[in-house]
C-alpha cells in the first residue's frame, strides 16, 4: 500500500545511480540521495560512530585479505 503510493518508478530511481556515477572528487566517501550529497545516519557523525566505522573496515579488510591476499594494496 505505502509502496504503491510513495514509490518512484525504477526509471526515476535509476537516475540517482547515473548521477552518482558522474560525480567527481567532491563526492568521494559521501552518501548521495536525491542527486545530492547528504548526511548519513547521525550515528555515523558521532565520535563513537567513527570509531565503529574504523573497526568495521579493519575487520572487512582482514576478511578480504583472506579471500585475496594482497588486496589491501589495491586500495
Amino acid at each position: 500500500m505505502m509502496i504503491a503510493i510513495l514509490a518512484r518508478s525504477t526509471e526515476e530511481g535509476s537516475r540517482a545511480l547515473v548521477h552518482a556515477g558522474a560525480q567527481g572528487a567532491e563526492s568521494h566517501g559521501k552518501y548521495l540521495s536525491e542527486c545530492k550529497v547528504k548526511d548519513p545516519s547521525s550515528f555515523l557523525l558521532t565520535e563513537q560512530g567513527m570509531l565503529v566505522q574504523g573497526r568495521v573496515w579493519v575487520e572487512l579488510e582482514r576478511k578480504l585479505e583472506g579471500i585475496w591476499p594482497g588486496i589491501r594494496n589495491n586500495f
Binding site: G21, N74, F75
Partner: protein, 243 residues
C-alpha cells in the same frame, strides 16, 4: 525511524523529482552489476541512450541478461557491440574473482562501476562465510571494488579523468535495531552471523549491511582522501522504488 526521518522520507518520495541525465558517455566504459532487472537495468538503459562506448551488464543469469541487452538495444537504438553480458554472481567469491580477471584482461579502460547487485533476504542463509546479506551486499561488493581498483586507477593515470565506483545503498541504514557499537573488538562478522537473530529480525540484516557499506566507503575516503586517491568511491540511495 524517528518522526523527522519519516517526514523527510515522505517529502522526498512525494515531492522530489530526480533530474534525468543528459550528459554524453561517448568513449566511456561502464559496468552495472545486477542489471537484469529493476534499477540496474534502467541505469544501463540511460547509459546506452547517452552514447556509452562500452556497457557491461554484470548479471547472475546470462539468459536474462541477454534479453535485457536486446531490450535496451531496441529501445535506445544503441550500436550493436556496445553492450556485453558478463556473468557475475555476488554469492560466490570465485565468481567475483573471475569477473574481475575478465575485466582486467579484456577491458582497455574502466570509467564507472555502478555496484547495484544486492539482496534483501528475510531469513538466514549461509553463503560463503556469512549470512547472505552480509556476503553479497558487503563482502563481495568490497571484494569487487578492491579487485577493480587497479583498472580504475590505471584509467585515471592514462586518461587524466577520475573514475567512479559507487555502491547502491539505502535509507534502511538509518533504522536498524542492532547495536554495532556493543560488539566486542574483532567480533563483528561472527556476531552478525547469528541465525537466530536473523530469522527473528530478518529485515535488520539488510539495514546493517547497508550501514556497513556506508561506513566502509567513508572510512576509505578518510584513509585515502581525494587529493591522494584518483578514484571516487561513494554510496547512493535511489529512494523507495517499484522493483
Amino acid at each position: 525511524m524517528s518522526a523527522s526521518d519519516f517526514g523527510r522520507f515522505l517529502h522526498s518520495q512525494l515531492f522530489v523529482k530526480l533530474p534525468s541525465p543528459t550528459e554524453s558517455y561517448a568513449g566511456k566504459t561502464v559496468i552495472v552489476t545486477g542489471s537484469s532487472s529493476g534499477l540496474g537495468k534502467e541505469a544501463a538503459r540511460h547509459y546506452a541512450r547517452l552514447g556509452v562506448g562500452k556497457l557491461v551488464l554484470a548479471v547472475r543469469n546470462l539468459e536474462k541478461g541477454a534479453a535485457v541487452k536486446d531490450d535496451i538495444e531496441t529501445t535506445t537504438q544503441c550500436a550493436k557491440g556496445v553492450i556485453e553480458v558478463w556473468k557475475l554472481d555476488m554469492a560466490s567469491y570465485e565468481s567475483v574473482k573471475n569477473f574481475a580477471n575478465k575485466v582486467n584482461d579484456e577491458l582497455e579502460h574502466l570509467d564507472i562501476v555502478i555496484a547495484n547487485a544486492g539482496l534483501n533476504p528475510t531469513k538466514y542463509v549461509l553463503v560463503e562465510e556469512d549470512d547472505s546479506a552480509i556476503t553479497v551486499n558487503l563482502v563481495s561488493t568490497f571484494l569487487l571494488m578492491g579487485l577493480l581498483l587497479p583498472k580504475l586507477k590505471a584509467t585515471a593515470a592514462k586518461t587524466g579523468t577520475r573514475p567512479t565506483f559507487t555502491i547502491v545503498s539505502s535509507e534502511a541504514h538509518r533504522t536498524i535495531k542492532f547495536d554495532l557499537a556493543s560488539v566486542p573488538e574483532g567480533k563483528i562478522f561472527s556476531t552478525l552471523n547469528n541465525k537466530e537473530r536473523v530469522d527473528k529480525d530478518g529485515q535488520d540484516q539488510y539495514g546493517i549491511s547497508k550501514l556497513m557499506q556506508i561506513m566502509c566507503v567513508r572510512q576509505l575516503a578518510e584513509k585515502y582522501p581525494a587529493s591522494t586517491f584518483p578514484v571516487t568511491l561513494s554510496t547512493v540511495n535511489p529512494g523507495l522504488c517499484h522493483s
